[in-house]
């Protein structure tokens, strides 16, 4: 279970309407209204990307009056289907999906089985992407793709679909770069 204790809030007088924060929000919680950024508190996972990119220091972190809890109970869905998605993604169910929130891949697969259709859905359901927002990003995408979901990428630099993994390296590259253990490292990961 991921408990989110904070939220981001815009100081309207400082916001210059540059829109940068809109593009970096992992849950698409920020919209522009009257040329000012507005954050949907219910979607904010307190990752602080918006605070980090704001050149005008117009966004601050505030403690929530009531923390928000995000959790997907993987035990309530079909375990065979979790394994099937993970196998297709070449990700072990017990691998970390998100290091910051200690979320395993099986919870990501369970979120998909419970209706997650986008990386943003996945983040809001599991609480992932509330920390560094980095490492879990392509893991989530790999799971969604493995489930056969076509991921819409609407915002111009919000998120790009580059989910290459060890299993996507062409043989000629494996042969050319022998000192990189490209075949051998597959065994490190996939031990179903």
């Amino acid at each position: 279970m991921v408990q989110i204790n904070y939220r981001a809030e815009v100081i309207p007088e400082k916001c210059t309407g540059c829109v940068d924060c809109v593009f970096v929000c992992p849950t698409l919680a920020i919209k522009m209204e009257s040329r000012k950024a507005v954050i949907d508190e219910s979607k904010c996972v307190a990752c602080q990307n918006c605070i980090g990119i704001c050149c005008d220091d117009a966004i601050v972190k505030l403690e929530r009056a009531v923390p928000v809890e995000r959790e997907v109970d993987y035990t309530t869905v079909n375990q065979d289907r979790i394994l099937e998605i993970c196998k297709r993604a070449n990700i072990h169910p017990m691998q970390w999906l998100c290091l910051c929130t200690s979320t395993r891949a099986r919870e990501g697969a369970a979120a998909i089985l419970q209706g997650a259709k986008t990386p943003e859905d996945m983040a809001l359901m599991t609480g992932t992407r509330s920390g560094c927002t980095v490492y879990c990003s392509m893991m989530s995408m790999r799971l969604l793709k493995a489930a056969g979901i076509n991921i819409p990428l609407s915002h111009k630099w919000h998120l790009f679909d580059t989910t290459q993994s060890l299993w996507d390296v062409p043989k000629e590259i494996i042969d050319k770069y022998a000192g990189y253990f490209l075949e051998e490292d597959k065994d490190v990961f996939r031990k179903f």
Partner: protein
């Protein structure tokens, strides 16, 4: 070496701590007390333990002239013909360079590069880019602290992993760079040769790593760390570096070469591969021995006491991450770590079982550090004691380790924290990671142990380990002599 007596050791000199919004909000930005001020803590000189580790031309506080001279000499044979008077050039730097020994050596190297490029090419549109790990506001802090805006006439900009993207075609498909890194005709890659995170780079394409980390968007950092393995991940920076897009812009690389002694020189060149090999040899000879010496520590209390994340905090010129995995020989490419980053959860068959943190670390005292990296394994694998309410608040609010506060206790001051840690650990061996190079800040008991064990570590590296490391990377062992 055997003549070194604990009684003759001097007081340690820890590194300067830069004030940061990512550190504990103490009134001064500094801890109330440094680990080196604790009774019985001494500075154990690296030179005395391993006389053949390359000597430093600079340690923190020294005159910067040797850095300037070494940079100028290293650049003398670098071809800058690509750069024309009307070209635009981005000098690419990473935040960690500014954390090494207070950051002024890296700053001086950057300044020297800028001035020499201006002199030799007539180019005036030279900009500075500062990439960062996870602390998005850190480049702004760096620009202000080191007065880089003034140095570059305002042409300075942070480069964040969430900034606008640029697509880079590689043999495994598109990977994503940061637009601000590449938005010039040419780039100059300015990095360091400090060991930092051996568990990640394994001294494979070490010089290229920033191309898939510092200079890359978050998607590509995720691909590097999570989608590839502990050795194969290092292909990602190489593929980006060798891409036509990067090669068209790349001019040369400059590296601040370091050993546990301090800065030992500057390496520069148009071809990164020879530099890669030179830095590799330097790492084997110097960091290899310190790592092996840390493997001789069977129980200790660690005090984290400096600028940056605990894993990258330096003690004896070597990052703490090298003690947390010292029980594994990570220069050995047959060894596969499981503990960090790669999303692994059990050791591969035939590999030694590894706990998330070296079992020799019996307790951790966190006197001062910055947030900015997922590091839950530290708090869950060994007892962690925070020093002071400000440190507790910092950990409680850390979004990258959301439950860490549930696994720690807080002491009111450093002596109290250490007393508690020693009761848990049942040892007098204390080592501080306080940013110091050239000497290990440690207790007299640990100093005595390390003095005795250094010859054994030295012999093991020279006779057994280094030949293996060299063979694995295609070196003739005679090259290392």
């Amino acid at each position: 070496m055997s003549t070194l007596a604990v009684a003759s050791l001097k007081k340690a000199r820890p590194s300067y701590i830069r004030k940061s919004m990512y550190g504990p909000a103490t009134p001064t930005g500094q801890p109330e007390m440094r680990a080196s001020d604790l009774p019985g803590m001494v500075a154990l000189p690296v030179q005395a333990l391993f006389p053949d580790i390359p000597k430093a031309i600079y340690v923190e506080g020294d005159d910067l002239a040797p850095i300037r001279k070494a940079t100028a000499e290293a650049l003398a044979n670098v071809n800058m013909d690509k750069i024309q008077p009307d070209s635009s050039v981005n000098i690419l730097t990473s935040q960690y360079g500014f954390m090494i020994m207070g950051g002024f050596a890296y700053r001086e190297m950057v300044r020297t590069i800028k001035e020499i490029v201006e002199q030799r090419t007539g180019c005036t549109d030279i900009r500075l880019r500062i990439a960062t790990g996870f602390r998005l506001k850190e480049p702004e802090e760096i620009i202000k602290h080191y007065e880089l805006d003034k140095m570059f006439n305002g042409k300075v900009s942070p480069a964040l992993y969430i900034d606008r993207a640029v697509e880079i075609d590689t043999p495994i498909g598109k990977l994503m760079g940061i637009h601000k890194i590449y938005n010039a005709d040419f780039i100059i890659h300015v990095h360091h040769g400090e060991l930092r995170e051996l568990d990640m780079h394994r001294m494979i394409s070490r010089t290229m790593k920033p191309f898939s980390m510092s200079y890359a968007r978050f998607e590509t950092r995720s691909v590097h760390h999570m989608n590839f393995g502990p050795r194969s991940s290092n292909l990602i920076p190489r593929l980006i570096f060798e891409s036509p897009f990067v090669q068209k812009k790349f001019t040369f690389g400059v590296f601040m070469a370091a050993s546990p002694q301090g800065v030992v020189g500057v390496e520069a060149g148009n071809d990164l591969m020879p530099i890669d090999r030179r830095l590799m040899l330097l790492a084997f000879k110097s960091y290899g021995k310190i790592r092996e010496l840390y493997n001789e520590i069977k129980d200790c209390v660690c005090i984290i006491d400096g600028s940056g994340e605990p894993r990258y905090m330096v003690g004896g010129g070597t990052t703490f991450g090298n003690l947390t995995e010292a029980e594994l020989d990570l220069f050995d490419l047959d060894t596969v770590p499981i503990s960090l980053g790669f999303g692994l959860y059990q050791p591969p068959p035939t590999q030694p079982k590894l706990k998330a943190v070296n079992p020799a670390v019996k307790a951790l005292v966190m006197n001062h550090f910055w947030t900015g990296v997922p590091q839950m394994e530290l708090a869950t694998a060994c007892p962690m004691i925070l020093v002071g309410d400000e440190m507790h608040k910092l950990v409680k609010e850390d979004c990258m380790n959301i439950t860490m506060a549930d696994h720690v206790v807080t002491a009111q001051n450093l002596p109290a924290a250490l007393r508690f840690a020693k009761r848990i650990a049942q040892t007098d061996n204390i080592i501080a990671f306080d940013g110091a190079y050239g000497a290990i800040t440690c207790s007299e008991a640990l100093a005595d142990h390390l003095i005795k064990r250094a010859p054994i570590a030295n012999q093991r590296v020279e006779e057994e380990l280094m030949p293996k490391w060299l063979r694995q990377r295609g070196f003739d062992p005679s090259e290392a002599l």
